[in-house]
Symmetry: C2
Subunit: 125 residues, 2 copies
DNA sequence: TGCATTGTTCGGATTATTAGAACTATGGAA
DNA sequence: TTCCATAGTTCTAATAATCCGAACAATGCA
């Protein structure tokens, strides 16, 4: 089996990061990896966002996140440990990841409680 | 000709924004629209980033930016005036757009002058 | 050795992106 | 008014990317 490829931090591009995080499943995965204290293996995400993701698709998603430079994957025995590369990425592109994750959270909150402050003006032209 | 569609700000999603800006041509267009004082028409971008973009492709790119909620397009006579929607978007997703544009600038600078401060450590592992 | 578990790779179907050609819409000049 | 130039859009077909089931590889354990 082919060894995992990780770009060195100076080869990481904004385009690749944005593309990787423009997929709802992938942001959800990334957000969970960032938010959890210990590293996560892939199968923890077989049903994320109330959807059943086939594991072949999951594998591709993790590959996309890895090759965008967002996570680091390390095989440990039969499973894989995924850790975020936020520190490095943040040094290269300050504030980028936190702004994206923050926006992602705002959107989630607006979706789960739509009756709150979101509708003060009925339709913002 | 079909009227232009613009999403209202609460329908704008992070995914759509990231996807729109994950294309090198589209970020370049958007950055220029944001950076210029007056509104820009589409044909100003027929050759951006030293590439010749066919106008049918350009038209699709502008549609993508519009429908992501990033710009507002307004037909004035024969041409179109494009203005950014940064204010609205920033109210919804604070810091998102500026972080992306900032990262984009960092990347551009690193590309145009690769011999400067970018290589203090020969290879950042 | 045999098997369960975890993740990858392959192949075909579906979907998105690209760009040339034909088209629409507007403003001016003759 | 008629004709033409200009600015964008839509149509269509080729190409590329994505998705997911099936087959596979790699590890750990009974």
């Amino acid at each position: 089996m082919r060894p995992l490829f990780h770009p060195s931090i100076e080869d990481v591009t904004v385009e690749a990061i944005l593309h990787a995080l423009s997929d709802p499943v992938r942001v959800a995965i990334f957000a969970k990896i960032v938010g959890s204290a210990c590293s996560q293996n892939c199968s923890n995400f077989l049903n994320i966002r109330e959807k059943n993701i086939p594991k072949s698709t999951l594998s591709q998603h993790f590959k996309a996140l890895r090759e965008a430079g967002l996570i680091r994957g390390e095989r440990r025995g039969v499973e894989m440990h995924n850790t975020p590369r936020c520190m490095e990425v943040d040094k290269r592109f300050p504030g980028l990841i936190s702004a994206i994750l923050n926006a992602h959270n705002i959107q989630l909150q607006a979706k789960t409680k739509p009756a709150s402050a979101g509708k003060r003006k009925t339709a913002t032209r």
